[in-house]
């Protein structure tokens, strides 16, 4: 490991947040190309499956994290509980914000069909989303925060899967349509 690789390793070890290539180069007073080379060396050291710590590319930067191999022991050692899982309501709100960002509360409510105050509040509190200005009508807009990408292991926002992947299948859609039409007919007959 050359000196730059050592420096980069130390920076990633210390920094509580993923660090971008640009910031690494700036801190080490060198070029991004040199840092990339150093990261390549580090990657060899931290190859997944061989070490307890792995080098990850998340949230537009680089970060060291523990390998899941140590999860059980880590839970025993640290009293800090795991990140609590998301409720369905929170996950829906987060999904809407993630794909439509910026998204307003009324927009979220429209899609979910329910007012989403408390779920949005929790997401804000947990630092997964943050405010991002106001819409033309004065509603607060939300976008995902950096923590979202980090916790969900996303390199960048555009690495989220294509949203069309989550659309109901044509069969589901047909079934839903049939049910709706039946409801309408039943009503018309009554």
């Amino acid at each position: 490991m050359n000196e730059l690789a050592r420096v980069v390793e130390a920076l990633l070890f210390l920094s509580p947040e993923p660090v971008s290539l640009e910031r690494l180069a700036d801190a080490a007073e060198t070029s991004e190309g040199e840092v990339l080379e150093a990261l390549q060396r580090l990657r060899e050291h931290y190859a997944e499956g061989f070490r307890g710590v792995v080098l990850r590319e998340v949230a537009g930067g680089f970060s060291l994290a523990t390998d899941p191999v140590a999860e059980r022991a880590a839970r025993r050692l640290l009293s800090k509980p795991r990140t609590p899982p998301l409720t369905q309501a929170q996950a829906e709100c987060l999904g809407i914000v993630a794909y439509l960002q910026p998204a307003s509360r009324p927009e979220i409510a429209r899609i979910r069909g329910v007012s989403s105050e408390s779920a949005v509040g929790t997401l804000l509190e947990r630092g997964l989303i943050e405010e991002s200005g106001r819409s033309r009508f004065g509603a607060v807009l939300y976008r995902t925060a950096e923590l979202f990408q980090k916790l969900f292991g996303l390199e960048a926002l555009d690495t989220l899967p294509d949203v069309a992947r989550f659309d109901p299948t044509p069969e589901d859609e047909r079934e839903l349509r049939d049910r709706l039409l039946k409801a309408g007919e039943a009503r018309a007959e009554s």
Binding site: L64, T66, G95, E117
Partner: protein
């Protein structure tokens, strides 16, 4: 209190507003059975008790109740021989379908996110405090990063005097659904039939809206029927089978 917590005590549903919406959307409560007027009344009562208008909450309520009213009134449209939805493209059903498909998309996204978070749990990041000598922010390293105009603009915005809030439209006497139902029932019993325009002659828009809603309720109860020969033509209301 937010709209979500608005407590409802209706014939088919008791509980908070947002739960009702969820159930309607998931088809566990039939929208046709929900007395939306009572929901509005409960909300207005709530506003009155509270004595202040939370604009964001009120907007949200209006958006939701408007969507529900629209859907419900479309669901209530009478079908000719039960095939109205086949003859027409079934606009209401299509819209509801579109909404449900959109909702399903994000419910799929939600499932994906929950799984992903679960799978990522094993990767833990270090969150140790920095060594003491690195904790102090170094002023020497600071570079200009903000525009002072943002502050001037924020302070300028705070100088704005609020417009006098016009509560005239809220203070206006409320039109009750009961009074409009009564009005139409008496028209029906005295004349046997009337046009909708006659029922709302000289009335303001709110009264018109409530009257239309009352008419939907009469139709639902089988007390009245209506016919309209062409779009935007006069609506003739006649006695229903239950009378």
């Amino acid at each position: 209190m937010s709209v979500a917590e608005l407590d409802l005590d209706l014939e088919v549903f008791q509980g908070p507003f947002d739960l009702m919406l969820t159930l309607v959307l998931r088809e566990e409560v039939d929208l046709l059975e929900v007395e939306l007027a009572d929901v509005v009344v409960a909300y207005v009562d709530h506003l009155e008790r509270k004595g202040e208008l939370d604009l964001e909450a009120a907007t949200e309520f209006l958006v939701l109740i408007a969507a529900l009213l629209e859907l419900k009134s479309r669901l209530m449209l009478p079908g000719e021989e039960g095939d109205a939805l086949d003859l027409e493209p079934g606009e209401a059903a299509e819209e509801l379908l579109a909404r449900m498909l959109e909702y399903r998309r994000y419910s799929g996204v939600a499932a994906f996110l929950r799984e992903r978070l679960e799978a990522e749990q094993g990767f833990r990041y270090r969150s140790a405090p920095l060594p003491p000598h690195l904790r102090r922010v170094s002023v020497d390293l600071a570079e200009p990063s903000y525009d002072a105009d943002q502050l001037a603009e924020a302070v300028g915005g705070l100088l704005r005097m609020p417009p006098k809030l016009d509560l005239g439209h809220l203070a206006r006497p409320r039109v009750s659904l009961e009074s409009r139902l009564e009005h139409m029932r008496s028209l029906l019993s005295s004349r046997g039939s009337f046009t909708f325009d006659e029922a709302v002659r000289g009335a303001d828009r709110l009264t018109e809206a409530v009257t239309l809603f009352a008419l939907l309720e009469l139709h639902k109860a089988g007390e009245a029927r209506w016919s309209q020969s062409e779009a935007f033509g006069p609506i003739t209301v006649t006695m229903g089978e239950n009378e």
